[in-house]
Amino acid sequence: MAFHKINVTVNHEPEQMVVPSNMTLMQMLRESLALTGTKNGCSAGECGACTVLLNGEPVNSCMVLAAECDGANIITVEGLARDKQLDPVQDALIQAGGVQCGFCTPGILISSRALLNRNPSPTEEEIREALVGNLCRCTGYVRIIESVKKAADMKPHQT
């Protein structure tokens, strides 16, 4: 097994990591950095629970090798709030009642943030499309979609 030395910025902090070739970004976050907010729902890129921002783009972190992330900027759910101030997508999700079991929540929040970064005033159709890769079994999505609309109306907050 080969190992790779990588420099990454995770949640605004620089990190130097040594990662094996077969380690996924999800494993690096959860196991090496103990950032367990990123969830493992399928390890196959199908459920979206492990979604993180990789250089501003939402990706399934189970489908990305850690070794590929040299020089990357990564934001996980733990990095959304700044100075204890929740990101609008977090505030809005609480207000809309879009949290139930919470296991899809981190991925939902990252996809919502990514959408609002590229499109600050999305239509309902655009919100539905942006969340289509994040499976939720509890809520029926309706309050989650509502929360993204709410967050779009709140004070902008660029992550």
Partner: protein
């Protein structure tokens, strides 16, 4: 008691924010897989049967044991004890016979998941393949291969009736009136059959258990669980240890829907851990394993015959259900029972013959899933109701309102129904979709339709399933509530805090729930199933909070030389309506109060306890299903949908979905509505998309691409949730459960709307575009 001068604002009935929302949106909430165990942690993998039905002739684990990094290899030889909730019909690992594809035959613990996986390939198992049973109706034939030759010897609960020498693990019978004589009096009779496929719960968090056995043999298990106490009980029994020697800790649960109730994979982790004492052993199902080695919703083959008189009054039903229970039956036998005693649906029917069989097959193990047999059973029943209404020339809503249970209606099992708001639910759901008015389709190639379905469901549980709770206060006067029920997303912790705060007289924000649930420190709760927590655990919490309240008021009354009746607790302050004295709780709940004469102190740390158990549930007769009070209560309701069928593709789009349920009292209305929305979408998903394909016993779509669940693009354009409140006499504030009910009537509501749109009916869900299109071709609707 004197008239209160200060209005205590109760959080019950308010939509207080979820108690766990902030930790869940920040990634701080801890789920089982997030726990850190350090370097002693071992990883388990399971060797599984590749055959649906086979004898195990020989197992050789020598090569696996020799692999560096492997710490233990176990097989069925190591664990001779049976396990099972209602019927002890399985071993933890197969011993002589494998009964489904995926049946565990051996387990490995190793220093890494990769090594554990590699070791599985080195385990050699010789099988002798046997003919499988792949259909429940084939399984009851006398010449069917017998799956459980020892069925007659298994330990079984008193209300389950297995038939030794057959594949029938339970046969529930309901007999009322005289069905044969009734048919002649009917002006319309209809007979239909339906098949409901297996589906899977698909929690986003797969099953996981970490078990550790210490030098004394005491077991600790961390697991994502709806049933920590039932797991303690059943696993301890199977391993031959005492229940108090087994501790189950359950952190946040990433979705349950019934799949994490009882014991499925958890006993495997514990069994392996007994061979590597001191090491925590982690077993985490892959998504593929999750689909067919955790519980599935069992399949159903259902036959209905029903008739009514010329005025539309139901006269008779003869319903027969064959449940595809799978290889073993943790809950399946009780699902068959629940469907049997509920087989009339929420209607008054004077003549009933109901038979519900749970049948062993070589399919994945059927378990409880949101609705516990009711969505499957209502799927056919509520389509028959529409067809019978049409045959007698009645509107489907009027037909249901005429026949539905009203307060004091006689149940098919005998006895009367409690106060019930079903008729109101049916009418409100119909009104919300503008029932009776046909709206134009959105395009020339589309057809629009509306459908409605009603439902009922009782908590299906043993008559003495109990709850308990404790309430204690800290130096600051704030409250800690101990419960053994689990928050699986439904909001159980939130409503627990609301009920404790309201009973005690403190602000909602002052209450926290002692989580995670830990069988060593949390009070007993039977299981987080059956939509029973708000009602049963809620009563225990109220009793515990009342106990605290009484201790505090008695103490203050003595100190102030007043009657407790003159005192109250308002916003965390004890007040006297008589003397207008007041003192905050923090002044007395730990340190007590000084005696007025200055000699010594009274009181001390306050802790309250409460429990609840249904007191008056009677059994149901084995031959007739009759009993005065067979279940604690029924939650009832209705759903209505409006949809469009695309004639070019067969694709169905749900335009509007409406749910109306009689919840007795909504402790937290927004949480109740969230249950109605989530259930509706899960119901839509099961109606349009979901089918665990089992070809010759082999799962064919055990992944989230080939087994699709509803995404954000599949939900209705518009949803509406209507709360009806006809109080439950023994519920806290009149509340009864709602968690499961919201996906019960969805399949038939959609099926009825499809019929309204294009005039076709299918044998069963999922109503995929392909099946709809082919049915439209057959019917000549499209060419």
């Amino acid at each position: 008691m004197a008239e209160p001068k200060i209005q205590n604002s109760s959080p019950v009935g308010e939509s207080t924010p979820r108690i766990d929302a902030r930790e869940k949106v920040t990634g701080a909430a801890i789920y089982t897989d997030d726990l850190q165990f350090g370097n002693a942690l071992l990883y388990a993998r399971i060797k599984r049967s590749p055959h649906p039905h086979a004898l195990i002739k020989k197992t050789d684990v020598a090569r696996a044991k020799a692999l560096p990094g492997v710490k233990a290899v176990v097989t069925g030889e190591d664990f001779p004890g049976y396990i099972g909730l209602y019927l002890q019909d399985r071993y933890i690992f197969c011993r002589d016979r494998a009964r489904y594809v995926g049946d565990p035959v051996a387990g490995v613990a190793a220093v890494s998941e990769e090594i554990a996986q590699k070791a599985l390939d080195l385990i050699e198992v010789q099988y002798e393949a046997l003919e499988p049973v792949l259909d429940p109706e084939a399984g009851i034939r006398p010449d069917a291969p017998l799956l459980h030759p020892d069925l007659g010897k298994y330990v079984v609960a008193g209300f389950i009736y297995p038939k030794a020498g057959t594949n029938i693990s339970n046969h529930f019978k309901l007999r009322k009136g005289n069905v044969e004589e009734a048919w002649d009096k009917c002006a319309a009779v209809i007979e239909r059959s339906y098949r409901i496929p297996h589906i899977q719960h698909v929690p986003i968090e797969p099953h996981i258990a970490i078990a550790k056995v210490d030098e004394r043999g005491e077991v600790t298990m961390w697991t994502s669980s709806q049933s920590p106490f039932a797991q303690r009980n059943l696993i301890a029994q199977s391993l031959g240890i005492s229940q108090s020697e087994m501790r189950v800790i359950s952190p946040a649960v990433g979705g349950g829907f019934g799949g994490k109730a009882g014991v499925s994979m958890e006993s495997l982790a514990v069994a392996i851990a007994t061979k590597v004492k001191g090491h925590p052993v982690k077993l985490r199902l892959t998504r593929e394993e999750e689909f067919f080695t955790a519980f599935v919703r069992q399949g159903l083959s259902a036959h209905f015959k029903m008739g009514c008189d010329k005025n539309g009054k139901l006269l008779a039903m003869e319903n027969c259900f064959y449940w595809d229970g799978g290889a073993y039956t943790e809950y399946g036998v009780n699902i068959a029972r629940a469907a049997g005693y509920s087989c009339t649906g929420p209607y008054e029917v004077p003549n009933v013959k109901g038979d519900s069989y749970c049948v062993y097959t070589n399919h994945p193990v059927g378990g409880p899933m949101r609705g516990f047999g009711m969505p499957e059973m209502h799927a056919g029943l509520e389509q028959c109701m529409d067809e019978l209404a049409a045959q007698i020339g009645m509107d489907a809503v009027e037909f249901r309102k005429l026949n539905c249970l009203k307060t004091d209606s006689i149940l098919a099992t005998g006895g009367k129904i409690h106060p019930i708001g079903l008729e109101e639910c049916i009418q409100k759901a119909a009104n919300a979709v503008d029932w009776g008015r046909k709206s134009p389709a959105s395009a020339p190639n589309k057809r629009r339709g509306k459908g409605i379905a009603a439902m009922w469901k009782a908590p299906a549980m043993p008559p003495n399933a109990g709850s308990s709770a404790w309430v204690e206060l800290a130096e600051d006067g704030k409250v800690n509530v101990g419960i053994g029920g689990q928050d699986i997303g439904q909001g159980a912790f939130t409503i627990s805090a609301q009920m404790a705060a309201a009973t005690l007289g403190v602000p909602y924000e002052w209450v926290r729930v002692a989580a995670p649930v830990d069988t060593r420190y949390s009070p007993y709760e039977w299981q987080t199933v059956a939509s029973r927590l708000t009602w049963s655990m809620g009563n225990a919490i109220v009793n515990a909070a009342k106990d605290v309240r009484k201790q505090i008021l008695d103490l203050v009354a003595e100190a102030w030389d007043e009657s407790p009746d003159e005192l109250d607790i308002v916003n965390g302050v004890v007040i006297s309506y008589k003397s207008e004295k007041e003192t905050p709780l923090k002044n007395l709940v730990i340190y007590g109060l000084p005696n007025p004469d200055g000699r010594g102190w009274k009181g001390g740390p306050v802790i309250g306890r409460g429990n609840f158990m249904p007191k008056d549930v009677t059994g149901l007769d084995a031959e007739t299903g009759q009993g005065e009070h067979g279940v604690v209560h029924y939650t009832t309701g209705a759903q209505a949908v409006e949809l469009e069928v695309d004639l070019d593709t067969g694709r169905i789009e749900i335009l509007k979905g409406v749910a109306a349920f009689d919840v007795g009292k909504a402790i937290n209305p927004e949480l109740v509505k969230a249950q109605m929305e989530g259930g509706l979408v899960q119901g839509i998903s099961s109606a349009l998309l979901e089918h665990l394909q089992l070809k010759d016993g082999f799962p064919k779509n055990a992944n989230l691409v080939d087994y699709r669940i509803a995404t954000s693009s599949d939900i209705p354009r518009e949803m509406q949730s209507i709360i009806v409140e006809v109080a439950q006499d023994d519920g806290p504030w009149g509340a009864r459960g709602i968690g499961e009910h919201s996906m019960v009537p969805t399949i038939p509501a959609i099926a009825n709307a499809i019929f309204d749109a294009v005039g076709i009916r299918l044998e069963g869900p999922p109503f995929t575009a392909e099946k709809i299109y082919l049915a439209m071709l057959d019917a000549g609707i499209v060419k």
